[in-house]
């Protein structure tokens, strides 16, 4: 235990002593140091460092060189690189300094446990400077007396160290201060150098690892001068129109340097420079006359210089100066052409003469005017007509004939040679053949085959064909020996040009041959708009308009029609471009088709808008083919039916149209003769009030079927009889009752009974099936007998039978014959029906008259009417009708008379309307 504490105390003591071995005067002395101190090492070299321990430290404990540990940064150097030189010195060796890093520290492992730093150094690794190469110098003249010399060199590889470069120079007998580069390591400028003495120049590069010098450069600075360019350049026009004189000032003394020059020039607007032959300017000078220039042309000049013997550098080009040569006579006459308009008058022409302004190099000045001379060739005696114009065209009205037109351009200096154009009476000479075009190099080339005769020259006319603008003719002349040329003008792509070539002969002119051409084609700008002209069941006729020239953008090579059904595949049909109509066939009937059309040029096509149409369901004549046979068949069937009916009419009549016994011959009529005759003339409406008949069936009962009568069938008659008995003495009251007054009907029946006494032995009973209207109680069913037998027995029997029941229910009873009339509206009272009947209906009028008469003559009727609202309403109507004179009394009376004359038999009013007819 004591031993352990002793060791700890010893270690702490040792540690403190290692760290602060001796503190005296504020300085801390470490226990050792490293040699060398902060070395600069060449990259890749070997390096050995020594760590030397202070002797004094040895006294404090077991600190010896063998306990030293070397570290690079925090990495321990392998012990194999250590070497213990003696007990206080340890060395470490690195074979390649590239493995070194900063800091390199020397550490001690006190008692083999605690590692403590003794000392550390900073290691700098780099490369020695390389020998500067490619040293070159140039003297830039910056003013008349200032000639700084700039030397540049290749500094070599990067050294990773602070490397200083110095430009050294000297005369053999005199040294100059070094030129030290600023901010760069590859150039330096000596502010002023002296000429004519050889100067030795070299570069020295130095850093911590060494020094290197370039090869010396020995030169006379005068040999490397780049002088300032001549200045104050001026250009003056000389006497000749082809000469300009240049003057300038040199900025380097002739005592320093004799100069030679380069002069370059170009026409203003041109980009290409021309140069005065160098040998003409190879001697010192301050002026030069440039010859061979174009008259009246602006030129740009520039000049440069260098040492006369060619040693050194050319100066920069001087500032540019311009000059204009003087005018000269035009060198050629203007090209001339004409357009002849012969449409206004057959005997004379309107000749539009036009000529081109001369090019500047031909005009040689400002053209002041043109002189035009027109000479008629046919009449040589007549003097030529002369015109002076400032424009480039002239319109003349000339009689038909041959003319020679001459044009001269004139400027300040003189006149041009004349241009001559022969205008023959007719273009009777041979034309050119095979006019063709070819786009080439962004221009349009026109070629032709020359005629056999000698051609003086050709005129090529062209114009842009457009819908939006007129054809403005442009033209150009070509010599007679060519058979093709480029059009000289602004030929636009995608535009159609009409090009015409005329051959001009010495004694006439050939007719023009034309061709259309495009410089460049494109797809059409739009497609044709297609529509149908006619649509059938399986075919459709499509029409379209040609695209306009502006829309075509090229030659339309073909059209393609695309059509399809909604869900079907598209079908394409190619159509010749000359067509404007096409018939689509094999279409499906009653189908919606979508059709569109594309127009194609050589560059592609463009589609027009979609158009839809529906094919017809039936083809032409198909409906007729169906309808006509059907109608014929129908007619045939009808005819056959009629014939059949005619043949079987007796049988049909028997079943469908049975013979109705004549009621007048009925024995009932004989049975109740007391009924007033006039009551027989109750109106049909009254007799057949529209009640709740919904169905009427006819039951034929043979005369001998009496026994089958039900008592119920006879109830109405019982009732009638009963009522009749109760209203005895008021028989007219029955007839004046409402339209629903069955009692009156029964009376009427009684009257009819007289007529039916003489009818045949058969009786037809009609069974009337009555349905109640909505919630009303159905009206009792009546059946009428057509029996020729008296019904007295049964009526009498039924009278007892029906007396209580019917009166108890207060039902209105109706009787209606089966007349085939649809009268089902049970709500509609009889008077409404009356209203509906037109006054022209005589039967109805008769009815009215009857009612009116009845109403006026029998007051007791009103008592019964009080029990029945309908009857009351009828009374109102009757009164209204009377008061309103809806029916004229005369007519009514007349009708009355006629009715009175009628036989007293049962004859309903409908007889006259095609209704029931007694057989």
């Amino acid at each position: 235990m004591f031993s352990a504490w002793n060791w700890v105390a010893h270690d702490l003591y040792l540690l403190l002593n290692i760290c602060f071995l001796e503190v005296s005067g504020g300085l801390v002395q470490s226990c050792g140091h490293i040699i060398p101190e902060s070395p600069v090492l060449a990259l890749g070299s070997n390096f050995t460092a020594l760590c030397i321990l202070n002797e004094s430290c040895l006294d404090f404990g077991n600190i010896y060189a063998n306990q030293i540990i070397w570290k690079i940064k925090n990495r321990v150097v392998p012990k194999e690189q250590y070497r213990e030189i003696n007990r206080t010195v340890s060395s470490v060796t690195f074979n390649d300094t590239s493995s070194l890093a900063t800091p390199l520290t020397c550490n001690i492992l006190a008692d083999g446990q605690i590692e403590q730093n003794i000392y550390g150094i900073t290691v700098t690794i780099g490369l020695p400077p390389e020998k500067p190469k490619n040293l070159s110098c140039i003297v830039h003249q910056v003013s008349k007396l200032t000639y700084p010399m700039t030397c540049t060199w290749n500094p070599g590889r990067h050294t990773f160290l602070d490397t200083h470069f110095r430009l050294k120079y000297r005369w053999p007998q005199e040294n100059f201060p070094d030129c030290i580069p600023k901010d760069v390591n590859n150039s330096c400028t000596i502010t002023d150098v002296q000429f004519f003495v050889n100067l030795e120049v070299w570069v020295e590069a130095a850093n911590a690892l060494g020094k290197a010098e370039s090869d010396p450069l020995v030169l006379d600075p005068i040999e490397i001068v780049k002088p300032l360019s001549p200045h104050n350049l001026s250009v003056n026009s000389g006497i000749l129109p082809t000469v300009l004189k240049l003057s300038w000032e040199n900025r380097i003394s002739a005592a320093v340097m004799k100069l030679k020059f380069n002069i370059r020039y170009r026409i203003t607007g041109d980009t290409n420079w021309m140069q005065v032959p160098p040998e003409d300017t190879a001697s010192p000078r301050t002026s030069f006359s440039v010859q061979g220039l174009r008259p009246y042309t602006e030129y740009v000049f520039s000049i440069r210089c260098m040492k006369e013997d060619g040693v050194g550098y050319w100066s920069d080009w001087s500032e540019e100066k311009t000059g204009v040569t003087t005018e000269d006579k035009p060198t050629k006459g203007p090209p001339i052409w004409r357009i002849i308009d012969a449409s206004r008058s057959p005997a004379s022409w309107t000749v539009h003469l036009m000529w081109k302004a001369l090019e500047p190099f031909e005009a040689n000045g400002v053209i002041l005017q043109y002189e035009v001379t027109v000479r008629a060739k046919s009449s040589l005696s007549s003097p030529p007509e002369k015109y002076s114009v400032n424009t480039t065209n002239l319109t003349l009205k000339l009689p038909n004939g041959t003319y020679e037109v001459t044009v001269i351009a004139r400027n300040r200096v003189g006149a041009s040679p004349p241009s001559v154009l022969l205008i023959p009476a007719s273009n009777s000479k041979a034309p050119v053949k095979n006019v063709r075009t070819l786009p080439k190099d962004g221009k349009l080339w026109v070629g032709w085959t020359a005629p056999n005769s000698y051609v003086l020259k050709y005129v090529i006319e062209w114009c842009l064909v457009s819908n939006s603008s007129d054809c403005i003719t442009e033209w150009q002349n070509e010599p007679g020996n060519v058979q093709g040329t480029y059009l000289k003008g602004d030929i636009k792509p995608f535009k159609c040009y009409l090009i015409t070539v005329y051959p001009l002969y010495a004694d006439g002119q050939g007719s023009g041959q034309s061709v259309k051409a495009y410089l460049q084609q494109d797809r059409p700008s739009k497609g044709p708009t297609v529509q149908t002209k006619k649509v059938g069941k399986a075919e459709a006729v499509l029409t379209w308009n040609h695209l306009t020239v502006d829309e075509q953008n090229g030659f339309i090579r073909s059209y393609t029609i695309f059509y399809k059904t909604i869900d079907g595949n598209e079908t394409a049909v190619t159509v010749d471009p000359s067509k404007t109509e096409y018939t689509l066939s094999s279409l499906t009937s009653d189908t919606l088709y979508t059709v569109r059309m594309m127009a194609y040029t050589d560059e592609g096509g463009r589609s027009g808008p979609d158009f839809t149409f529906t094919t017809q369901k039936f083809g032409k004549g198909e409906i007729e083919a169906i309808v006509v046979p059907v109608c014929l068949a129908f007619l045939l069937i009808v005819l056959l039916g009629v014939l059949f009916c005619f043949n079987k009419r007796d049988l049909i009549k028997k079943h469908i149209w049975p013979i109705v016994p004549d009621p007048s011959k009925s024995n009932i009529a004989q049975w109740s003769p007391q009924v007033p005759a006039k009551h027989n003339f109750s109106s049909k409406d009254q007799m057949y009030p529209e009640g709740s008949f919904t169905d009427v069936s006819v039951v034929e009962i043979e005369a001998d079927d009496k026994k089958s009568f039900s008592e119920q069938d006879l109830k109405p008659f019982d009732l009638l009889k009963k009522e009749k008995s109760t209203s005895e003495g008021h028989s007219s009251g029955i007839g004046g009752s409402s339209c629903m007054s069955s009692p009156r009907q029964s009376v009427s029946d009684s009257d009819e009974g007289e007529a039916t006494q003489n009818t045949s032995s058969t009786v037809q009973y009609s069974t009337v099936v009555l349905n109640g209207y909505r919630d009303q109680t159905p009206v009792q069913v009546f059946s009428r007998s057509e029996s020729t037998q008296p019904l007295l027995d049964s009526e009498e029997r039924s009278e007892d039978h029906a007396g209580g029941g019917d009166s108890a229910t207060q039902r209105q009873q109706y009787f209606k014959r089966n007349g085939g009339q649809d009268e089902t509206n049970t709500d509609r009272p009889c008077f409404e029906r009356t209203k509906q009947i037109t006054p022209a209906n005589e039967g109805d009028l008769v009815g009215f008259a009857q009612l009116q008469i009845s109403g006026q003559s029998s007051q007791p009727l009103g008592i019964e009417l009080e029990k029945n609202t309908q009857e009351a309403a009828l009374s109102d109507v009757l009164q209204t009708s009377t008061e309103g004179q809806t029916v004229r009394p005369e007519t009514v009376e007349g009708s009355l008379l006629s009715v009175d004359e009628m036989p007293k038999s049962y004859l309903p009013q409908t007889v006259r309307q095609g209704g029931y007819m007694p057989q």
């Binding site: 007396l145 005369w171 053999p172 007998q173 005199e174 002023d192 002296q194 000429f195 004519f196 003495v197 006379d220 005068i222 003394s253 005592a255 320093v256």
Partner: protein, 195 residues
């Protein structure tokens, strides 16, 4: 003259003469310019006549055309060594007087001084080619500058520059004479070759 016999020595001599002539021409041009600047900056009258300045060699020679080449070189060398010392003295005085205020004049003086020095080097080289080394400079320099007033120093400087301009002309003629082929280095130059 032994060294002059070899072709390379002849080329070297011709080259030295040629460049010496052009250097003399430039030196004259620069001195003329410098004279204008000097007169202006020093406030002198350009037409002021200056008496012969002590220590400044005179360019005029009574029997110039009779001198030998070596003699010409020696005379030139002596003159330019003197000018070098005088110009260095003027440059120092100018710096003392004007400081850095008139750097252009100082630069021009320094440039002329350099040219004078370069020309002296040419002469020394030519003398070496003549198999006669240049004489030692010891004792050949100008006498120590007398204690002069400011104006007198200005006038003295003006005299130095004027004389240097004269010497530049003469030196060019001397070198042309030396550049002529043949042993007649002592022959007089033709009038056409005079600058």
């Amino acid at each position: 003259m032994a060294a002059a016999d070899s072709p390379s020595a002849a080329l070297r001599r011709r080259d030295l003469c040629s460049r010496g002539i052009r250097l003399a021409g430039k030196m004259r041009s620069d001195v003329i310019d410098l004279l204008d600047t000097y007169v202006e900056r020093q406030g002198l009258d350009a037409s002021a006549s200056v008496a012969a300045v002590e220590g400044v060699p005179a360019a005029a020679a009574e029997r110039w055309d009779e001198q030998t080449g070596t003699q010409r070189l020696l005379d030139n060398l002596a003159a330019y060594r003197a000018f070098r010392a005088l110009l260095a003295q003027m440059l120092e005085e100018q710096r003392e007087q004007l400081g850095e205020a008139d750097a252009a004049l100082g630069r021009a003086l320094a440039a002329v001084l350099l040219q004078v020095s370069a020309f002296a080097y040419h002469l020394e080289e030519l003398l070496r080619l003549e198999s006669r080394g240049p004489p030692s400079e010891e004792g050949a320099g100008p006498p120590p500058p007398p204690h002069l007033g400011l104006f007198e120093r200005k006038l003295r400087g003006l005299g130095v520059l004027r004389e240097l301009a004269q010497w530049a002309v003469r030196s060019a003629r001397d070198l042309r004479q030396l550049a002529k082929p043949g042993p007649g280095s002592s022959s007089a130059p033709s009038p056409a070759e005079s600058p």
